[in-house]
């Protein structure tokens, strides 16, 4: 009997192995990346998205005149829709537009089962008209778009002349510096949309990039096929939907995905530790967790004491279960391991950012003992687990509700998005993803995003100052249009500071001067230290796992550049 059971088990295992081998997932020729099912990425190459994969997909679908890429030595700029012809002594930049570049709409895709056949149809070529449309769109978006800062700081009038008979156009760059090739190509790396696009589409899919969007399956698998006129090696790119990120590592382990651009907790996964199967790439943090205080519910005194109460170090240690058997290990791009404290934030500007790292902003790290008497009996903090980072937020809810940590003074509740929208909280716990640690750290995302995780609306209202410049309108701070519930329409005792805050935010975001940015960063930090608008908690390590299906040398992830900016170069490992 016993012998029979053993034999039976062996038969089952063998059958399972055979089933996996023959009918299990086969990701050859595919790049499969997970996404949160109800956060379908909507691609707008000129605006930041709340969904991290959406911004990364900009590099997949679109080209700029020059494309940012990378090699082992760093960032490279490769010809996209243009070719740099000349930089003359007067800083005139001549770019020849590539006349044979086709828009994705020049191809049609025939889908049969899981097979996609891309065929050419009437070619729609890239023209200077497309470039002109794109520049006008960026100009209209203004400070909402990082590309606006990028281009306006360099190109006079954000326009160009031409093209001439050689299809060459001419930009006049400002004369205030020596323009290197890298600078020029960086400035002209904004993604170009076809001129027949609407200026405010919900998403943009028609690009010229290495992969063209073909279709979405019933399971909301988003399929992209290699651009026949492109250089990408791997034929297919799939964005695979999952309920949340809690199963991402398992899915990778099970071979359902082969590229995990961020792991839960940003930590090393014990189940993915086999370097024969996986390799990792780490880069600078792009996600932080913060508790944003509701100024309608908490006075400045209460907010200060609440900030004193929330000990981010304690939370972080719990978060990673430091010094326990379940400790989550981390490793950063510098090779540092388990350097959790490096991720603690003390300012609007994360510690990893240029501003803090270079001491432009010197956050006040010391916390006073909280005066709990000024706080409500229970500080009610809400969060929503349905829009990413479910694993991390769930863990944080549990940690912060632990009486042993905050004496039961804090009550964190996971609520639905609608509850958040109503603003019925003393504070809200959010994850802010996709932030850049360089000059273009995005404060709109923190202060002007509507408190609706299902949308990504930035409530920036600007007016003309009558002299051709834009100025921020106070209506940008409406109570139900930001997580802090700041409302300049109300007669709030801190109104002056709110006005100042809005002014600083807009100044920081709209300036194209590095010096101004640094000054505004200081002002904002100082103002935040005074106003205690939130508890800035910590950032998440950025760690990506790749299946060794890919040649790790072909995958270069650099800094704040999109993790997919080099996707064109990715190649599968050749078995020896």
């Amino acid at each position: 009997m016993k012998k029979g059971l053993i034999i039976g088990a062996i038969v089952i295992v063998v059958a399972a192995v055979l089933f996996y081998l023959f009918w299990g997932p086969n990701l050859d020729g595919k790049i499969v990346i997970p996404y949160i099912a109800h956060q379908k990425p909507r691609i707008d190459p000129h605006l930041p998205s709340a969904v991290p994969i959406a911004d990364k997909m900009d590099e997949v679908v679109f080209d700029g005149l020059f494309n940012v890429s990378a090699n082992p030595s760093g960032i490279t700029y490769e010809d996209g829709l243009g070719e740099l012809v000349e930089l003359d002594a007067n800083n005139n930049v001549v770019v020849r537009l590539k006349p044979r570049k086709k828009w994705h709409e020049s191809y049609s895709a025939a889908i049969e089962d899981d097979e996609v056949n891309v065929s050419e149809k009437e070619a729609v070529y890239f023209t200077a008209q497309d470039l002109n449309f794109t520049l006008k769109r960026i100009q209209r978006l203004g400070s909402l778009s990082p590309d606006y800062i990028l281009v306006s700081q360099a190109v006079e009038g954000m326009t160009f002349s031409g093209p001439d008979d050689n299809n060459e156009i001419r930009f006049k760059f400002f004369d205030d510096r020596i323009w290197t090739e890298a600078d020029i190509k960086e400035v002209l790396s904004f993604k170009i949309l076809p001129h027949n696009s609407d200026i405010n589409q919900a998403e943009y899919l028609n690009g010229t990039g290495p992969y063209l969007y073909t279709h979405a399956t019933e399971e909301n698998v988003l399929n992209y096929q290699v651009n026949p006129s492109g250089m990408a090696e791997i034929q297919q790119l799939k964005l695979q939907p999952f309920i949340d990120n809690s199963t991402y590592t398992t899915e990778l382990k099970n071979g359902n995905i082969n590229c995990l651009l961020s792991t839960p907790f940003g930590s090393l996964s014990p189940i993915l530790s086999d370097s024969q199967d996986y390799f990792i790439k780490s880069n600078i943090s792009t996600t932080l967790f913060a508790v944003l205080f509701n100024v309608e519910r908490l006075s400045v005194t209460q907010r200060r004491e609440l900030r004193n109460l929330i000990d981010n170090k304690k939370v972080l240690d719990r978060f990673y279960k430091v010094n326990t058997e379940q400790q989550k290990h981390i490793e950063d791009y510098k090779g540092n391991k388990d350097n959790y404290n490096d991720y603690l934030n003390y300012s609007i500007f994360p510690t990893s950012s240029y501003y803090v790292d270079n001491k432009v902003v010197i956050p006040m790290r010391e916390r006073n003992s909280p005066d709990l008497s000024v706080l409500p009996d229970t500080v009610r903090i809400q969060t929503c687990l349905n829009y990413g980072f479910r694993e991390e937020l769930s863990e944080l809810v549990q940690i912060m509700n632990d009486p042993a940590l905050f004496g039961g003074k804090i009550k964190v509740t996971a609520v639905q998005n609608d509850e958040i929208k109503r603003g019925n909280y003393d504070a809200v716990l959010i994850a802010y993803s996709g932030y850049r640690s360089n000059f273009l750290y995005d404060l709109y995302e923190i202060f002007l995003r509507e408190p609706d995780f299902s949308l990504h609306n930035i409530n920036l209202i600007t007016d003309s100052d009558g002299r051709g410049m834009r100025m921020v309108n106070e209506r940008s701070f409406e109570g139900n249009k930001n997580f802090f519930r700041i409302d300049l329409a109300s007669d709030h005792p801190e109104r002056d500071n709110f006005v100042k805050l809005l002014d600083y935010i807009y100044g920081f975001m709209s300036t194209r001067e590095v010096g101004d940015k640094q000054a505004y960063a200081q002002f904002l930090d100082e103002l935040d230290q005074q106003m205690a608008l939130g508890s800035w908690m910590f950032s998440l390590p950025s760690l990506a796992y790749f299946s060794t299906q890919f040649d790790d040398k072909s995958v270069d992830l650099y800094g704040v550049a999109s993790q997919l900016s080099t996707i064109e170069k990715w190649r599968e490992k050749v078995e020896k």
């Binding site: 082992p72 740099l84 950012s353 850049r436 273009l440 590095v514 704040v560």
Partner: protein
């Protein structure tokens, strides 16, 4: 022909216009000695016009010493002269003196036969006059004698002594009849007058022509007669004067022995000349004188008794004794005894003085002996001195009754003193004789100090000090030579020891004299030693520098070389410890300068010039050598420091200006060539900026060799800013170099700490072991999305 006639007429005219008119007497003037001859113009006298000029030729006489005597009326109305040369008043006129004292008529001119003619020139005539004139040629002696003869005769007559009283002395006259005082005076005057006559006669005799001698010429015979008369009278007057003189002195010296003593020599002369006097005269004289002489001995003895010194006795005792003898009288005993003492005293005194002089001369000669004496020198001196001593005068033992006189005692004392002097000299010379051989042996061995010591230790040879005075200098010179020899042999310690010995040496014959010279020598040697030590030290260091300026390996060790220390550290100097230390400090400073400034700066300049000329030629080694020199350089030359820093991979190269490419060298830091050499270069970015947070793009232009494979392999190993790594995975953007961007890498944003050092370090590896040139440029960044 016409021309000739014209010339002739002109000549005649000019002749007629001559300034002086010649008077041509008829008969012609004759130079024969023939009395006075009138000058006539035929039968008439010449007529002279007022204010006209004339001359007349007179032929030369037949012999020398003639007078041309001219008697002319109205001599005072004319200005005339006689000249041996005349050319119508032209040229220099030599006027022959008119020796005549007559202003109115006579002229006489000395003429001779040395020219053919003399010219009597009438220079001016006050009135028209008739020339009444005669002339005569006459020998000068005759003319002079003829003109003086009468006067001479008269003088002789007036100055002849009346001999009658004199000749009758003792018979017709007595001595008392004579007024000797008056006679003395008178006779002296007469003799003087006669001597003048005699002089005039002698003068005339000197111009006697030979032809007149021994002739019966009347004038000549007159001359001889008067001359003899004068001589006879003068001879008489001489003896007569001696007689009256003595007798006058005898008379006036009565009761005055001192005056009589003064007359003793005259008495002796008279007595000795007794034959010149008649017997009666001499007898009277002798008797009178001899009566007076005995009073002289007591007078002399009194003088001698009063004498206290040892000067010679200067009394007429000898003349007195001889006077007795000349008078034919027996010399009285007291006279003879006195005279003997005086002579003995004076002789011994003279002997004493001579002996002392000789001893002094010997001693002087010994003292003045410039050459150091031979071994036998002093035995000769001893002999000479001994002999001299032997002949010393005997002193008062031979003075008889005058032995106790003070002068005799004094003389004896002087003799004794001299005797002591002899003994001292002899003692010294004997000592000298004893040590000279030893001295000479020392001298042969140049043991001058030993010689000095021996001389100083030997008593009584102080007289050798001058002779051996050169020893002091020889000793100094020898010691100085030893110092110099040691210095020449670079035996600095030996030189210093010898110098110290010389400085402390007090063994000299004349330390006070030689002291300053020794001090000067010590000072010179001290200076020389110092300067030599300094010079050799510096030369050694300079040679070391020159020898190693191109050294490329183990440069650090060069700075530990002893070439940069003094060849000798002195412990003694005559100038004192404090000054010595100052001196050594100066030298050490100079050597430090050579070590810490000159060597590194010179080497850096040379090597850097070579280095930049061709960095591929041992560039790494040169750069390392330059850097090593730079580590040692303590000067202030910014260029040198800059070059050294340029070659030192660990030294930060300053970027102080934005938008300016700056070249620098990337150098391997591994010891030697390997498969993967590690290169480093560092930048210190300190660009003046008003910004509070100055931030820059750093653009690095790389050599193709370094960056050509950047696309497939990270070209750098690390990039750090202030030791913090810069990585592309962070917020920094590091662009990859490529052919399309001319291998330029950009690092941004690089935020500088304001007014602080900002060290950007880049390391990379490369299989080649060489120098790479890199260009760096910083500028304000743009805001980048990626």
């Amino acid at each position: 022909m016409k021309v000739k006639i014209l010339i002739l007429l002109t000549s005649i005219y000019l002749a007629g216009c001559a300034a002086y008119k010649e008077l041509k007497p008829e008969p012609e003037v004759s130079s024969i000695e023939n009395g006075y001859i009138e000058i006539k113009d035929g039968g008439d006298n010449f007529e002279l016009d007022k204010d006209k000029k004339y001359f007349m030729k007179f032929p030369a006489p037949s012999d020398k010493n003639f007078y041309l005597v001219i008697n002319v009326d109205n001599k005072d109305l004319m200005k005339t002269y006689l000249t041996p040369y005349f050319d119508d008043g032209k040229g220099q006129i030599i006027k022959i003196e008119d020796e005549s004292a007559d202003p109115l008529k006579t002229c006489y001119y000395p003429v001779d036969n040395s020219v053919q003619n003399f010219y009597w020139v009438i220079e001016s005539v006050q009135y028209d006059i008739i020339l009444n004139m005669d002339y005569r040629y006459v020998p000068q002696w005759r003319y002079k004698f003829e003109t003086k003869y009468a006067r001479l005769q008269e003088t002789l007559l007036n100055n002849t002594v009346d001999r009658v009283p004199y000749n009758g002395l003792g018979t017709t006259t007595k001595l008392a009849d004579f007024d000797f005082g008056n006679e003395v005076t008178k006779t002296k005057e007469m003799t003087a007058n006669l001597e003048k006559v005699q002089a005039e006669l002698n003068e005339i005799e000197s111009i006697f022509p030979a032809s007149v001698l021994n002739t019966n010429d009347e004038a000549y015979q007159n001359y001889r007669n008067i001359k003899k008369q004068v001589e006879d009278e003068l001879t008489f007057q001489k003896n007569y004067q001696a007689f009256v003189n003595v007798m006058d002195k005898e008379k006036v010296s009565r009761r005055n022995t001192a005056a009589l003593d003064e007359a003793v020599p005259d008495i002796l002369t008279l007595f000795q000349n007794k034959d010149a006097y008649d017997t009666n005269v001499f007898a009277e004289t002798k008797k009178t004188i001899l009566d007076r002489l005995p009073e002289l001995v007591p007078y002399y003895e009194k003088k001698i008794a009063d004498k206290r010194d040892t000067s010679p006795i200067n009394l007429n005792t000898d003349e007195l004794e001889k006077a007795y003898q000349a008078a034919g009288e027996t010399v009285p005993g007291n006279v003879a005894e006195l005279n003997k003492f005086v002579n003995n005293f004076n002789t011994q005194l003279q002997n004493l003085k001579n002996t002392e002089a000789e001893l002094d001369a010997i001693n002087e000669s010994v003292r003045n002996q410039s050459e150091m004496p031979s071994n036998t020198y002093f035995s000769g001196i001893i002999t000479k001195v001994g002999r001299l001593k032997y002949n010393m005068p005997k002193g008062n033992s031979s003075f008889g009754k005058y032995a106790n006189y003070a002068c005799s005692q004094k003389l004896s004392s002087d003799i004794q003193t001299l005797n002591y002097k002899f003994n001292r000299s002899l003692d010294g010379y004997r000592s000298a004789d004893r040590i000279v051989p030893q001295l000479n042996e020392y001298k042969t061995n140049k043991q001058y100090s030993s010689m000095i010591r021996l001389l100083k230790q030997t008593p009584g040879v102080e007289f050798l000090t001058d002779t051996y005075k050169s020893l002091d200098k020889l000793s100094i010179d020898k010691q100085a030579l030893e110092v110099r020899t040691a210095m020449n042999n670079a035996n600095w310690a030996g030189a210093e020891t010898e110098l110290k010995s010389l400085h402390l040496d007090q063994n000299f014959l004349r330390p006070a004299v030689i002291g300053s010279q020794k001090a000067q020598t010590v000072k010179v040697l001290d200076d020389t030693l110092s300067s030599r030590v300094a010079r050799i030290s510096k030369q050694r260091a300079q040679k070391f520098v020159a020898d190693n300026i191109n050294t490329l390996s183990n440069v650090e060790a060069l700075y530990s070389n002893t070439a940069f220390t003094p060849v000798y550290n002195r412990t003694f100097s005559s100038i004192g410890q404090a000054d010595l230390e100052r001196e050594q400090l100066v030298l050490n400073n100079e050597l430090s300068y050579l070590k810490e400034q000159y060597f590194p700066s010179t080497a850096i300049k040379k090597l850097y010039a070579d280095f930049v000329k061709n960095p591929d030629n041992d560039g790494v080694l040169k750069a390392r050598a330059i850097a090593a020199h730079g580590d040692q350089y303590k000067g202030e030359d910014k260029q040198v420091k800059t070059w050294a820093a340029e070659c030192n991979p660990w030294a930060s190269k300053w970027i102080t200006k934005a938008k300016d490419y700056r070249k620098l060298y990337a150098l391997p830091v591994n010891a030697s060539q390997s498969a993967s050499n590690e290169y480093v270069f560092r930048l210190n970015i300190r660009i003046p900026s008003d910004a509070k947070f100055p931030t820059y793009d750093i653009n690095v232009k790389l050599p193709k060799e370094v960056a050509k494979d950047a696309a497939s392999e990270q070209w750098y190993r690390s990039i750090t800013l202030n030791n913090d790594p810069i990585k592309n995975e962070g917020y920094y953007a590091i662009t990859a170099p490529s052919a399309s961007n001319n291998y330029e890498c950009q690092i941004t944003p690089v935020r500088m700490r304001k007014d602080e050092d900002n060290i950007l370090e880049i390391r990379f590896n490369n299989p080649k072991f060489k120098v790479y040139e890199v260009s760096i440029m910083a500028q304000k960044p743009i805001i980048k999305k990626n």
